[in-house]
């Protein structure tokens, strides 16, 4: 079994997967708490616009998609702040437009596009050293930012007015949360795929919420589950020759189902005894 760790592509996939899971698990606790699960899907689908543009023009897809993601997060934030459209509608409009742009650009590109297929479904062979370096740098920045801002983000999540009255500027942290979410979702697109990536943001937190006795435990469990899910999924992908995205997400869904059933059984047992 240990031989698989000697393959450079597997080392890159695992390291990249763990880094991404740390941020997505953490961010997921805020996204689930704010009932904004739709944002993950939206950003992931929208990133296809940036990726398709990069493939068509012949420039590096990941940096292009990251810049594209930051831009979309800023547009979403501006619409949310300046209009009465509402977050869900704003996400729906902006991100489907970007996805449509991506599909149009892809249709202009002649022939089979293996790179675009790996962006859609995830591929552990697709993580290059260059991608890993970008992931490492952005993950480190995101983890430092989350460590510093964690309490403020929790405060704003539960009570925006209270946070404002204690001297915090909630809008600034909302924007930071959107940008961090956009960056981490796009970083994980190569590993998990555009279609499935949002589940890695949501499922570990939704599972942790079922069993956590406190918010601190909620965050720790969500991060641990995200890392576990990614590692188990990647190993399954390698041994069973499955698409990495599907293997990771199904692992997460399996853990969620087991946890939910376990919780229900415990409740029945507690009632009877």
């Amino acid at each position: 079994m240990l031989e698989l760790f000697s393959y450079p592509f597997m080392q890159r996939a695992l390291l990249s997967g763990i880094l991404i899971s740390l941020i997505l698990g953490w961010l997921g606790t805020f996204i689930v708490s704010r009932k904004m699960s739709f944002i993950g899907d939206g950003i992931a689908h929208a990133s296809l616009g940036g990726i398709a543009l990069a493939v068509l023009v012949g420039i590096a897809p990941l940096p292009t998609a990251l810049i594209f993601g930051i831009l979309l997060a800023c547009i979403l934030f501006t619409i949310e702040q300046k209009t009465n459209i509402g977050t869900d509608s704003a996400i729906g409009i902006i991100f489907t437009s970007s996805l449509a742009l991506g599909i149009m650009l892809i249709s202009l590109h002649q022939g089979y596009q293996p790179e675009l297929i790996s962006y859609l479904f995830g591929n552990i062979l697709a993580i290059s050293t260059h991608d890993l370096v970008i992931t490492l740098v952005i993950s480190t920045i995101a983890l430092i930012a989350l460590s510093i801002w964690n309490n403020k983000l929790i405060f704003i999540t539960f009570d925006k007015d209270g946070a404002y009255l204690s001297g915090i500027s909630p809008a600034r942290y909302d924007l930071a949360l959107y940008i961090l979410t956009a960056l981490s979702i796009i970083l994980s697109v190569k590993l998990v795929g555009v279609i499935l990536v949002s589940a890695l943001l949501i499922t570990p937190s939704a599972t942790a919420k079922l069993i956590a006795p406190s918010f601190a435990a909620f965050q720790k469990i969500a991060i641990t589950l995200a890392c576990m899910t990614t590692c188990i999924g990647l190993l399954m992908s390698y041994y069973l020759d499955l698409p990495s995205g599907a293997a990771i997400i199904l692992t997460g869904s399996f853990i969620f189902t087991l946890t939910l059933l376990g919780k229900k059984m415990k409740m029945i047992y507690d009632k009877q005894s």
Partner: protein, 244 residues
């Protein structure tokens, strides 16, 4: 204990008008609130009470008019204000404990010295619930947790929006006594939105009657009259008579 109320207006509201779309919710409101007073705002639903306190906190900028606190813009003074909202909109199934709910406030607030959260929880009678999840508290317990959080720092102003809405009669009495104690012993200027005329009569020293426009302001005995209540709540409430 004899309460000291400054003669100089602490909060000054001048000609404040605010609209939501075409609906006017505050119409040329002018009034003052003295430092160290316990002011109740009375008025029916939709009379602009919450809009006015949100403007006082700087959470909303009125379309017209000005509000100053100690001569300054409300936004500059916001860290001196403690706020107990009518309810907090968040998912009650989320796992956050009472202790975390308070600590997240002390960790983020760098403007004031923090009081000991266990001491404050004892003061509001929530010590045994410290490790309980917020979502599992009763309405009254949750309201007390919100007050505890507002008290973690020495605030000059405490604004409470219908604090007794989710509390039973016994809890309501305790709550009003607690507000009175904060006002009298700690000198905190309290602004209280309430529908409970009996409690307002007992505890407030100033009443602002609001129904989009200012109906009147003064002591409870002067303002809570059948005529004023009729203007505020309609004919049935106009028959109300307060017994001391």
């Amino acid at each position: 204990m004899q309460k000291k109320i400054s003669i100089k207006p602490y909060i000054e509201i001048k000609d404040v008008t605010h609209r939501y779309g075409t609906i006017t919710v505050l119409d040329q409101i002018s009034c003052t609130i003295e430092k160290g007073s316990l002011t109740a705002i009375l008025g029916p639903n939709g009379s602009g009470k919450t809009t006015l306190v949100r403007a006082i906190m700087g959470l909303l900028t009125p379309d017209k008019g000005t509000i100053t606190i100690n001569g300054k813009n409300p936004k500059e003074m916001r860290t001196n204000i403690g706020y107990v909202p009518q309810q907090l909109q968040f998912d009650r199934t989320l796992p956050i404990t009472v202790k975390e709910f308070l600590e997240v406030y002390t960790c983020t607030n760098t403007h004031h010295q923090h009081k000991d959260s266990t001491h404050i929880l004892a003061e509001v009678g929530l010590t045994e619930h410290i490790h309980q999840k917020i979502g599992t508290l009763s309405g009254g317990q949750f309201q007390r947790a919100l007050i505890a959080r507002a008290l973690l720092h020495k605030k000059d102003i405490l604004i409470l929006d219908e604090p007794s809405a989710a509390i039973d009669a016994e809890g309501e009495e305790t709550l009003y006594q607690m507000i009175e104690k904060l006002n009298r012993e700690h000198g905190i200027t309290c602004i209280l939105i309430s529908h409970d005329i009996t409690m307002v009569h007992r505890f407030a020293d100033s009443v602002l009657c609001l129904n989009k426009e200012k109906i009147c302001q003064g002591t409870p005995s002067d303002t809570i009259t059948p005529d004023v209540l009729k203007k505020l709540y309609g004919s049935e409430m106009g028959m109300y008579h307060h017994h001391h």
